[in-house]
């Protein structure tokens, strides 16, 4: 019986893998198509004004393969991409794959810090808000959540820069110090961007966690714990929190895409040399191969992360495996 359940669970994983691959192929095809449909010839953006001769334009078209049919271009690009060759940036002649890899640590650090800030803040807010004895603080946390959800992260970023960088000189307004260069410099350069990205995330997580905590607190096993005379803190942290936090696992995974999108703006505002800033610059300068490379990377990463989250969820919650076996 257990073996049959495991086999069925394995089939479920396999099906999700196939779905994942199909998703990647579809999104990449759509992205390539959309970029191709953008009106205008990229040569006009790439070449300086004084070199916009028909011969030079034709040369750029040839370099980018724009003189080939669409499917031939896309097939060639896909073939190279499978080998890790995403082409060469027209702007600075660097391999696109190298550019992405070199920028990745900055974006990863930003996203991890934003997630941490989001989760820590969400935990604090949710725990306060479900504690009904403190109506003032509960109201404050609700207000914080509403404001954070309403405030776009780039507006918050500008406010943080104005107050903490320009007026108070506590943190730098822009720039990034690598960890290898200085720990304090790195922390200092990442505090404001992480806050800008993480605060909105905290609001979403807090909403979900508060709702789940409120439901869990009504469960029989929690009521039993309260009836036993356990302190409220122990009930919340030891009994109610874990089952309530499971939806956060899924949400955190889904939120990776939102954080990545947010990083595009935040990295531009704070001049962080991450993938977001790379993509924005590439879009402005019509460096198509870089844009395609970034989209491919982001898509594959997002799909893989969500696949991992699905797996993790089934590990954390045995009911998922049981239900998969039963179906």
């Amino acid at each position: 019986m257990a073996r049959r359940r495991e086999r069925k669970f394995g089939t479920l994983i396999w099906r999700r893998l196939v779905r994942m691959l199909i998703t990647i192929v579809l999104v990449v095809t759509l992205t390539y198509l959309l970029l191709d449909l953008i009106p205008g010839n990229p040569a006009y953006s790439m070449l300086p004004q004084d070199q916009l001769t028909p011969a030079n334009i034709a040369q750029v078209d040839h370099q980018l393969g724009l003189d080939k049919p669409f499917f031939a271009r896309m097939g060639l690009w896909a073939l190279h991409a499978l080998q890790g060759n995403l082409g060469v940036s027209y702007q600075n002649s660097q391999p696109v794959a190298s550019l992405i890899v070199s920028r990745l640590p900055v974006t990863l650090e930003l996203m991890i810090l934003a997630q941490l800030i989001g989760l820590v803040l969400a935990l604090a807010i949710a725990l306060v808000s479900v504690n009904q004895r403190r109506k003032v603080t509960s109201g404050f946390s609700t207000l914080f959540t509403v404001i954070s959800l309403s405030l776009p992260n780039f507006i918050l970023a500008l406010v943080l820069v104005l107050i903490f960088a320009v007026k108070l000189h506590w943190f730098p307004a822009t720039g990034f110090t690598p960890l290898s260069q200085s720990l304090s410099g790195n922390v200092s350069s990442m505090i404001l961007p992480s806050l800008a990205l993480g605060v909105g995330t905290a609001a979403v997580y807090a909403q979900v966690l508060s709702a789940e905590l409120s439901k869990t607190l009504q469960q029989d096993f929690v009521q039993f714990a309260i009836a036993k005379g356990l302190p409220r803190r122990t009930v919340l942290l030891r009994h109610a929190l874990r089952p309530s936090a499971l939806p956060l696992v899924t949400l955190a995974g889904l939120n990776v895409g939102i954080l990545l999108g947010g990083s595009f703006i935040i990295e531009t505002i704070f001049a962080l040399p991450g993938i977001g800033a790379l993509a924005v610059n590439a879009i402005y300068s019509k460096d198509y191969l870089v844009v395609q490379g970034v989209v491919l990377f982001v898509t594959v990463s997002y799909v893989l992360i969500n696949f991992a989250v699905d797996l993790l969820y089934s590990v954390v919650d045995p009911r998922v495996r049981r239900n998969a076996g039963a179906s």
């Binding site: 953008i38 205008g40 010839n41 990229p42 006009y44 953006s45 300086p48 004004q49 004084d50 070199q51 916009l52 702007q91 600075n92 002649s93 660097q94 550019l99 070199s102 920028r103 604090a124 807010i125 306060v128 504690n131 004895r133 403190r134 603080t137 946390s141 500008l158 820069v161 104005l162 960088a165 320009v166 000189h169 506590w170 943190f171 730098p172 307004a173 822009t174 720039g175 990034f176 690598p178 304090s184 410099g185 922390v187 200092s188 505090i191 309260i226 005379g229 302190p231 409220r232 803190r233 531009t268 505002i269 001049a271 040399p273 800033a277 790379l278 924005v280 610059n281 300068s285 019509k286």
Partner: protein, 529 residues
């Protein structure tokens, strides 16, 4: 069961957060601008400059710097053979002299003895020939050169296919970046990220998209320079972010938007100094190959319906001067031009004359890119022209690259555009204002203009060239081939302790003009007071 009274969880969490913040604040250093300045250069110090884009690479043959800021970095790594002067001539810089023969068809470049590149390779005539021939081989420049000939270790003779008085001008820009032939040969394509030049600084590190660090070149041919021990260029693409970085003390010098800087009070604050740089001319091209602007009555009507001073005040907050020609009035080749001024009554009459002459209503389409300033400008122009009785339709704003294609492809009637900042008009006038020029987007045929541009290239004196360009500019104004609006300005803002930003002195002691050709700002004579 009673819940215990304990401090709120949130309060407890704040303690480590605040402690961490305090520790970070203690670790942070912010540069406070010192109002005390020294007139005598001070050695040492580390300058941080915010630029809007990074160079695409440092190979003189392939680099395509997207902005003045990017070009500024390159100009610290490479010395150019000549530099512009305020009078319109080009003074020798890396070269000891650059002399033309009687008709400027042969040029002799002479070098100083004992100069070396950053890797110790001698800077001699053979090195110069290698560099210039390499540029010629790409087809991007020096196509007018017939031969390069090394006649002595320090002398290179350049023979041209035809007289070209602007040859020294070409040696002051990217084609004149002189790089070490040893490094060019050994590095190959990687030279673009590992340059070895002849300038005051050499590349120490380049964190792509983040910052570029330069340190002094110990072999720099100007003894005693540079003063600074390190220059860091921070790449900050957003103009507001650059301004914030300057105000926060994270950078010492920044390229800023003049209107934004004015709004923040940078120009009037004692903490900062600002320097304006010519940034080209904003204009409206008229497509004289299609109706209605193929008719001079129509072109004059549009020009006289435009209140350009009011436009400059509302769109650019009064920053930048009125333009009457492709050249700014600060250009050494400029002479005053009589361009039609604002006269609404006259414009209305011209509109009626046009309609009577052609039997058609006066209607045109105005195109712009999706740049917010251009969109605003388009709306303002529509309003002004409609007041004169012209029916104006605004075309859907296009993205920059697509818009360039539209304008250069002459698929427009009237189009808002920009003309780059120029010091020597030769290259751009040949491309844009010569009737057969590749970028003659105004689509006109005018032998007076064409002949004058050709003659200007052959004149051997500044006065002679100025006279020819005066013919060109006056004819363009007379025929109203375009509506010139505004000489735009870019701005460099520096903290008050930054000295020597505007004082690149030449070896003969004269001062080079600031921010003209390619709008670069030299760091080699800067110091921190």
């Amino acid at each position: 069961m009673r819940a215990s009274a304990r401090p709120a969880r949130a309060r407890l969490l704040l303690v480590p957060v605040l402690a961490g913040a305090l520790a970070v604040m203690a670790a942070c250093s912010s540069q406070a601008g010192s109002s005390a300045s020294s007139t005598k250069p001070v050695r040492g110090g580390q300058l941080v400059v915010a630029i809007d884009a990074q160079p695409t690479g440092f190979d003189p043959a392939t680099a395509d710097d997207p902005s003045p800021g990017a070009a500024s970095v390159s100009n610290e790594i490479f010395s150019t053979l000549t530099v512009p002067t305020a009078s319109g001539t080009y003074a020798p810089y890396l070269a000891e002299s650059v002399q033309g023969n009687s008709d400027d068809s042969v040029w002799t470049i002479t070098l100083r003895p004992g100069m070396e590149f950053a890797d110790g390779t001698p800077i001699n005539a053979a090195a110069i020939e290698y560099n210039l021939a390499r540029i010629k081989a790409t087809g991007a420049d020096y196509t007018q050169v017939k031969t390069f000939q090394v006649t002595s270790p320090l002398t290179l003779v350049v023979t041209l296919n035809a007289p070209w008085s602007a040859f020294p001008a070409s040696l002051s820009g990217q084609p004149g970046w002189i790089a070490s032939p040893t490094a060019l040969k050994s590095e190959g394509k990687t030279f673009a990220i590992k340059p070895v030049g002849s300038g005051p600084y050499e590349l120490s590190s380049w964190s792509q998209g983040n910052q570029i660090v330069l340190v002094p070149n110990p072999h720099f041919w100007r003894k005693g320079l540079p003063y600074l021990s390190k220059v860091t260029y921070k790449i900050i693409t957003d103009s507001s972010a650059r301004l914030s970085a300057l105000e926060a003390g994270n950078v010492d010098v920044a390229e800023v938007d003049p209107a934004q800087a004015a709004a923040e009070g940078i120009n009037t604050s004692s903490q900062y100094k600002t320097y304006d740089m010519a940034n080209g001319t904003d204009l409206v091209y008229f497509n004289t190959g299609v109706a209605p602007l193929n008719n001079i009555l129509a072109r004059r009507a549009v020009a006289e319906a435009t209140n350009r001073p009011a436009l400059i005040k509302s769109i650019w907050r009064g920053v930048g001067a009125l333009a009457n020609s492709p050249m700014s009035s600060a250009n050494p080749f400029y002479t005053p031009v009589n361009f039609p001024g604002y006269n609404l009554q006259q414009a209305k009459q011209l509109v009626q004359q046009y309609q009577q002459a052609t039997g058609k209503p006066f209607a045109l389409t105005l195109s712009s890119s999706n740049d917010p300033t251009q969109e605003l400008e388009a709306q303002a122009l529509q309003s002004m022209w409609q007041a004169a009785g012209i029916k104006v339709t605004l075309a859907a704003p296009q993205e920059a690259g697509t818009y360039s294609e539209t304008v250069i492809g002459k698929k427009y009637e009237a189009a808002i555009f920009g003309f780059p900042s120029i010091l020597d008009p030769d290259q751009w006038y040949t491309l844009i204002w010569t009737p057969q020029g590749v970028l003659n987007v105004a689509n006109y045929k005018n032998a007076i203009i064409g002949n004058a541009i050709v003659k200007a290239a052959q004149e051997t004196t500044v006065q002679g060239r100025r006279a020819q360009y005066a013919i060109v500019n006056n004819e363009i104004a007379q025929q109203v081939y375009s509506l010139f609006i505004h000489s735009s300005v870019n701005e460099i803002a520096a903290r008050s302790n930054v000295q020597g930003l505007n004082s690149l002195t030449l070896p003969d002691g004269t001062k080079a003009p600031f921010g003209q050709e390619f709008q670069v700002f030299p760091v080699e004579t800067m110091w921190l007071g």
